[in-house]
């Protein structure tokens, strides 16, 4: 497969970004797994949540190529998370203020 030198070169040019993305995701996953396994300090969940958020953004921008998409698709990608924010915020207003 991918016999010639030229083909390997083309292939690498196209695969560089996905490979780097996967590498970055694995690295971030490594951080989270390490934190989860060792629990080095209290409230480590805040860091874990930030790392998970970074992974999500990485998938959106790079794996799903939202970076290159027209503004409308970018808006669609954001709006869902905004609505999740509404759902969480307004529900938590109740749970966090219960006596």
């Amino acid at each position: 497969m991918f016999g010639t030198h030229d083909e390997r070169r083309i292939l690498w040019r196209h695969m560089r970004e996905p490979v780097l993305t996967a590498g970055a995701l694995l690295a971030m996953l490594g951080i989270n797994v390490a934190l989860g396994a060792t629990l080095p300090f209290p409230h480590v969940w805040i860091v874990e949540l930030i790392v998970a958020g970074a992974m999500v953004v990485t998938i959106l921008l790079f794996s799903m190529e939202v970076r290159h998409d027209p503004p409308l698709v970018k808006l669609f990608a954001c709006i869902g998370f905004f609505w999740v924010g509404i759902l969480f915020t307004m529900t938590l207003v109740d749970y966090l203020s219960r006596g």
């Binding site: 991918f2 996953l29 396994a37 949540l49 794996s63 869902g80 529900t91």
Partner: protein, 220 residues
């Protein structure tokens, strides 16, 4: 012969009710994103439930989360990230028109997806062995002294089950598409199907990237 590049150009065949191919492709991308919005909100309901359970029963949730198979979950995340990489590979090759390579990448993606399900199945089996299935009436529940822990364990089954269902659907569609795509001329007519399916596959991955910390990591 090289990586299977066909001579014909890569493209999309116009369906009659669209005016241009550009319009048709744009509609397809937008349609998939609209669908993904609904998927996100679907799982958001489950994540919210997890968070609320954590708020009202912190100890019970932590106790339950400690019984989840953390390392299987982590391995499965690696498997899904790998499947995303092969899916990206399939998309890249479809753009180049390298049909054979693309088909191989698609098969690899389906294989990794199946591996995820197999590991998940093994995890369920281990849960069963450890009496972590509170809904089975004939099998005493491990954490019976902590009734609220049942709620979190139940949520774990609904969330992972629903995610598994999405993955199974994805693998089925992927295999059907691989079969279609292995025939000549697919990329000249339906290249964008690979891209659209890729969005779905990456999003299932994204959901798991959220589900893994929500269920396994944050509550430890």
């Amino acid at each position: 012969m090289s990586a299977g590049a066909s001579d014909s150009a890569v493209g999309v065949e116009l369906v009659s009710h669209f005016a241009t191919v550009e319009q048709q492709k744009h509609a397809a991308v937008l349609g998939m994103w609209a669908w993904l919005l609904t998927e996100l909100l679907l799982f958001a309901g489950l994540f919210l439930t997890a968070l609320v359970l954590r708020i009202i029963h912190p100890e019970a949730v932590q106790e339950a989360a400690r019984h989840l198979k953390f390392w299987i979950g982590a391995t499965n995340t690696v498997v899904l990230i790998g499947s995303s990489l092969t899916m990206s590979g399939a998309i890249q090759l479809s753009r180049l028109g390298w049909q054979r390579g693309m088909v191989r990448f698609m098969l690899a993606t389906a294989a990794l997806g199946t591996l995820f399900l197999v590991l998940k199945g093994y995890e369920y089996y281990a849960d069963y062995q450890e009496h972590m299935m509170p809904f089975l009436s004939d099998r005493p529940y491990e954490l019976k002294d902590s009734p609220p822990s049942r709620l979190f364990v139940n949520l774990y089954y609904v969330a992972t089950g629903l995610h598994g269902l999405h993955l199974m659907t994805g693998i089925t569609i992927l295999l059907v598409m691989t079969w279609q795509a292995s025939r000549a001329g697919f990329l000249t007519r339906h290249q964008n199907r690979i891209e659209i399916f890729g969005l779905y596959w990456h999003f299932i991955d994204l959901i798991w990237i959220l589900a893994f910390p929500t269920l396994y990591v944050l509550n430890r």
